[in-house]
């Protein structure tokens, strides 16, 4: 309802076109019927590539189309020295111990490890004083190696042997031996019994399907009927 009474058509916009800088009789720019050019502008990129002598064909292009000529980079003795320092520093960094490599899995030894040259990093010890204790490398717990007191043991063993010898001399009867044998057999029998017990707990032995649970579909049908 708001637009009522302002005439039909003619003025497509609600504000004065003069505001945008178009004169009264001036033609407005035509509506664009084409899609905008694809990004990035391939011909421009090609030009840059030729200039830089880079092979960029294998990477995603982020280059914006340039509207102006590219300026050559500054060169001077100072700059070339700094660049040399920079490259030297970078290589040194890469070969140093500061290059953090992944902890190798010690359990898995690969055959190829033997022949891998890779980067041989110099090691460095962190200054533990400036680190929080959380980051300190764990100290390996040293197991206390207790030396057995052999002399004492030897003495004890001699004593025991003598005692046993005496004991043998005292109980040198056949009856005693027989009794001992019987006892041993009893132990064996008991062990066998134990094994049988174990077998009985086996799932296969006790499992028995009497077939009662089979074909209970009818009950289900009845249940469904009861729903009505």
């Amino acid at each position: 309802m708001a637009g009522r009474g302002r005439g039909r058509g003619g003025r497509g916009v609600s504000f004065n076109i003069d505001q945008l800088g178009f004169g009264r009789g001036e033609a407005l720019p035509k509506a664009t019927l084409q899609p905008p050019p694809t990004f990035p502008n391939v011909t421009q990129v090609d030009k840059i590539l030729k200039k830089l002598e880079f092979d960029l064909t294998d990477s995603v292009l982020y280059l914006q189309p340039l509207t102006q000529q590219v300026h050559p980079l500054q060169t001077s003795e100072e700059i070339s020295y700094i660049i040399a320092v920079k490259q030297n520093f970078r290589n040194k960094m890469r070969e140093s111990g500061y290059n953090v490599l992944a902890e190798k899995d010690k359990c898995l030894k690969k055959y190829s490890d033997k022949y891998q040259l890779g980067i041989q990093n110099g090691s460095w010890e962190p200054n533990l004083k400036i680190l929080p204790s959380e980051l300190h490398p764990k100290k390996k717990k040293m197991r206390k190696m207790v030396k057995p007191n052999i002399t004492k043991l030897k003495l004890d063993a001699d004593k025991k042997l003598k005692e046993l010898e005496e004991f043998e001399k005292v109980n040198d009867d056949d009856d005693v031996e027989e009794e001992e044998k019987k006892n041993e057999e009893g132990i064996i029998e008991e062990e066998e019994y134990d094994e049988e017990d174990l077998e009985e707990t086996d799932y296969n032995m006790t499992y028995f399907d009497n077939g009662e649970s089979y074909g209970g579909d009818d009950d289900d049908d009845l249940d469904e009927d009861a729903l009505y």
Partner: protein, 527 residues
Amino acid sequence: MSSSLNHLCSSIISEGFGDIAGRVSQVLLAKGHTSLFELSRLSKERILTVKKCLYTFIHHNLVTFKRSTSGTLEYYIHTDIVLNRILFPKFIFTAKSLFGDTAEFIVEELCFHGNLSLDDIVKNITMKTDAEGNNQNIKKEEIHPIFIKLVSEQFIKRFPSVVGVEDGVPIFSEQKHNLYFVPPMADSEPPEKRQKTEETENLVLWIINYDRFHRYLRDCQIATAFERRIDSNACEIIKIILRISETRTDPNCTSTKGISMIELSPITKKELGISKDILTQYMSLLVEDSFNCVIKLADSGEGTYAIDLPKAMKNLATSHIESIIQEKFGSKAFRIFKVLLLNGNLEQQKIEDCVMIPAKEAKELLYRMVEQQYVSVTEVPKTSDHAPRSTFYLFSVNIDALARKLEENCYMILGNLYSRRDHEGKKSKRLLEKQSKIEAIALQMTNALDPSAPDHAQKLEECQKEIEEMSTVGEKEQIERLSKAYSQLDQAEMQTEELLFILRQCIHYSIPMENDVKSKKKAIEVD
């Protein structure tokens, strides 16, 4: 922190400390304060590896730690210090040009290791020179005085010493008065005392004072700007003023302390051979220059002069931005930009009149600059409904905002350069490995040869031939191309970093300093 800054920082770290460290730093940058276990979980690295990364970062002063209120230890990465790693080659070069080769070695060692004790520095340098087999062996006695000079000029400062440990976290001392104090050399002490002092000397760790290097580089930029504007003598005069004022002024101050003509003239006469009359002419020229960062404070002492640093940096940044506009949009657009810069807020009609360019063209250029956010628009409505008919559109240029926008662009450019270099390296990894192997073999072969043998020269030639045959012509071409690409990328990086440095300094000074704010507050309270 913006994503482009984060990307740049993580690429800087992965170049210096390896890809794994880069991945860990990405998490640190994205999350801010992070605990060890969270880091390990988010970066999908083992705890042991993350620990290794963290203590490497702490060793290089990139990361600090703090107990959070909940009791967990949290790590935080400082992007400012990470960005300093781009400037390292410049720091090394500065040390060389100011104090010679020995200073270069000292600064290089400190850049490389993060923090070191004086003993370690000496040890490393002597080891290095021995390994190179140069005749110019540097002795400890030579290193010490230059080290003291570097410290007294504040290019190197003490690493805060550990006072105690609380809850597994070391506490650093916050003393500032002895930052630049070098303990006396052990050899000059009597032998009984020696052991004690040696111990303390070993405990003191030294780091690079980034701020001082920044100040020096800033001074260089200002001086070279004057060289371009006037001549080399003006540049030298500015350098002298800045050098004298460096030790006197507080680093947080915005402008240098005044320097009188009486002080200045003997120095210029001695160093440049400029008489007093010519000096006064130069000074008046410098004050009248449109760069107007040299201020005449008073007439006392035959004229007292100071340099307004924020203004100098802002002017430098402005001229960089202007040249960017000129290259990006052409000289006509530059005219519009300049008009806006000089007159502040202008209406479109007024701009068209001022720049003397056909209205239609001017409009197009102006809108293009608005579109890319180089020119800002302010709406001033007459009525409350913001109807376009009854609204003034004022166009203006905000240098501070533009500096921030371009700073962001610089981060992106640098990040891209790092990515590109990384990619180039990875693509020809095998080739580079082969090359390094060949070099190692060549070194071995030449070492194995007996120079005293009669057919030495012939054998050497044979060796060289053999080595040359190891790599094909194609490979050689590729290596050459790669090294060219590397140097071009490095060069581009250096130039971008120079612009970034100026922009960062400009932004640094555009933020009101603490001292200024305090003094203003005081003034208000007094009123």
